[in-house]
């Protein structure tokens, strides 16, 4: 059995041969590969490069035909303007995203534990029915969901988003934990059981301490997807400024009526992306694992 999918990807078989030992043809292909990789790199970086350089050109220093040029001086005007617009929504987003990620991770961990180690009749079918929930277009539940929120009195509170991200996060969180626990040998559970430990005790004493990597994967996955979510936010908070989150606040700012403030728009877009970019920079490996679990492989 091949190793874990992320290990497989990051297992670099960097060329051990010295370049001088390579034949002419091999050398040509190596150079060709580097040039192609660098061109692709430039294309991938271009959009974020434009955001970064234009965020330092001031409120009125941003023009389309000089969009690719570096700023002549570093001007932080747009940063304070964007902060005025985004500080409250970003704080609100952080608050609800933290809550929904933690609850999702706990639920996912319990489900994953039972569905991998304590299967019951029909547990496989249950898992498959969960998985389908991961792929549905949320438009198909939006109308009843808004009515449900009204019915239970959640409308007008940020908890509409906590509820949505927790409930619709159940499939992916369960999947990640289930796959992770499947790699823990059954013998460990067996040994605990022989010692007379209950299911809950085995979970607390043996499984939970081993679960930290899976918790990191699920937490940052839920964090990133809830932070970047626009669909639930726009449907469930109904455009109320009182409930603006990072994406909706940004969309109101940059939406077509507001296109004159290019510099501020660029900076705000960058600012709203900083939390998830930081997570990606420092925990990229865990992010990749969450991303790949969505493909159901490994």
């Amino acid at each position: 059995m091949s190793a874990d999918i992320v290990d497989r990807i990051t297992h670099s078989t960097a060329p051990k041969k010295n370049r001088r030992q390579l034949s002419g043809v091999a050398q040509f292909w190596l150079i060709f590969r580097y040039i192609s990789l660098t061109i692709i790199l430039a294309m991938v970086i271009l959009p974020i490069y434009v955001l970064v350089v234009n965020s330092f050109k001031g409120i009125s220093g941003v023009y389309l035909n000089t969009a690719f040029e570096l700023p002549k001086t570093l001007n932080f005007e747009t940063w304070s303007a964007a902060w005025d617009w985004l500080a409250v929504p970003m704080g609100r987003t952080l608050l609800f995203v933290t809550q929904s990620s933690i609850i999702s991770a706990l639920i996912g961990s319990i489900n994953g534990y039972v569905l991998s180690k304590w299967r019951f009749a029909g547990s496989n079918a249950v898992f498959m029915l969960f998985l389908f929930g991961m792929f549905i277009p949320y438009q198909a539940i939006m109308i009843p969901l808004t009515q449900f929120n009204k019915l239970v009195g959640l409308t007008g509170s940020i908890y509409v988003l906590v509820l949505a991200h927790v409930v619709y996060g159940i499939p992916i969180c369960t999947l990640i934990f289930r796959n992770y626990y499947a790699s823990i040998p059954d013998e460990i559970i067996e040994a605990g059981r022989v010692d007379g430990a209950s299911m809950v005790r085995i979970y607390r004493a043996i499984i939970l301490p081993l679960s930290i990597p899976a918790f990191v994967v699920v937490l940052i996955w839920q964090f990133t997807s809830a932070w970047n979510d626009f669909l639930f936010a726009i449907f469930l908070t109904g455009g109320s400024p009182k409930l603006a989150v990072a994406t909706t606040a940004l969309n109101w700012l940059t939406g077509s009526s507001n296109q004159v403030y290019y510099g501020k728009n660029m900076t705000a877009s960058l600012m709203a992306s900083i939390p998830t970019l930081l997570v990606y920079m420092f925990l990229g490996r865990y992010f990749l694992r969450g991303l790949l679990s969505g493909s159901l492989k490994g």
Partner: protein, 301 residues
């Protein structure tokens, strides 16, 4: 023995009780709510003021297929899906192919190729709206300016403002975002192939090209299928990307955006629900065969 067995049975029932809250949540919020939406789609709730709600059969669906706007949005979605699938598959595959043997600095390339997945399209929409700006020649900025600079000025175009090419333009940022993901999947595919296969072919005197063509590529067909399904279902649901770049403009209308407008701007719930069911149907025909395939391979293991 009997006590051990009964203990195990009770543990299994206990396990079921721990999952029960989630089972109920999924039953209500996924399946129950889909059923509810379907039911709404069969009624006459065509505005918020309808008091006498009654079933009208599939009238909303037949009306949709006579609705020029809906047909336009559906056509746009299919156009977008075609370009997005081919473009992302190709670019992701090429990235993986370039990296698969390992190069110095591979980690750096990989990390940069994947970062677009960490950012929302609402944020990137701002900059893509600039990059896909339609001004040309002297006034050009964005990609039109890049094309001029690299001597491909004749390729300058109106991007998402052009009635015919809008969806092709919309696929550009989508390809930009998802290529790294496809690269990762193919890279995992390449590196899951045992080295012996390559070695054996080499010993047999096969050229590098032939090794790729006849030994490695056939091994990647399961990955290819996975990629196709992942991209396919994402494409059917495309929403943020369109809103982030062109908003609710007619030329780039797709089903998800139309559904949003119909439901929340004009509160035609029955029509919105019908569009939602059609998106669900499109996703289901892509995903259900895949899930049953995954289920089968799981059982075999």
């Amino acid at each position: 023995m009997a006590t051990v067995q009964s203990k195990q049975v009770s543990a299994r029932i206990g396990g079921f009780f721990f999952v029960l809250p989630s089972i109920l949540a999924i039953a209500i919020f996924v399946y129950g709510m889909i059923a509810y939406t379907f039911n709404v789609s069969l009624t006459n709730r065509n505005s918020a003021s309808v008091k006498d709600i009654k079933h009208v059969g599939f009238k909303n669906y037949t009306e949709l297929f006579a609705d020029e706007r809906f047909i336009h949005a559906l056509g746009n979605l299919l156009k977008f899906t075609g370009v997005f699938l081919v473009g992302t598959l190709l670019s992701g595959f090429i990235m993986a192919l370039l990296l698969e043997k390992g190069v110095a600095g591979e980690g750096l390339f990989r990390s940069f190729y994947l970062y677009p997945m960490a950012i929302s399209f609402i944020a990137m929409g701002t900059v893509w709206r600039w990059l896909l700006n339609s001004s040309r020649d002297g006034d050009a900025g964005g990609l039109n300016l890049v094309l001029q600079k690299i001597g491909l000025g004749f390729l300058q175009n109106d991007w998402y403002l052009s009635p015919r090419g809008a969806m092709f333009a919309m696929a550009v940022p989508a390809i930009w975002q998802m290529s790294g993901y496809v690269m990762a999947l193919f890279l995992a595919g390449f590196r899951g192939i045992p080295d012996d296969l390559r070695e054996a072919a080499r010993v047999d005197g096969a050229s590098e090209f032939k090794i790729y063509r006849h030994v490695l590529f056939p091994q990647l067909s399961p990955t290819f299928l996975t990629v196709l399904i992942i991209l396919g279902h994402i494409s059917m649901k495309v929403f943020d990307l369109i809103i982030g770049i062109s908003g609710k403009s007619y030329v780039t209308d797709v089903l998800a955006v139309y559904m949003w407008q119909v439901t929340f701007d004009i509160t035609n719930f029955a029509k919105g629900a019908s569009i939602a069911m059609i998106i669900l149907f499109l996703v289901a025909i892509v995903v259900i065969p895949y899930l049953s395939h995954v289920n089968k391979t799981e059982r075999e293991n």
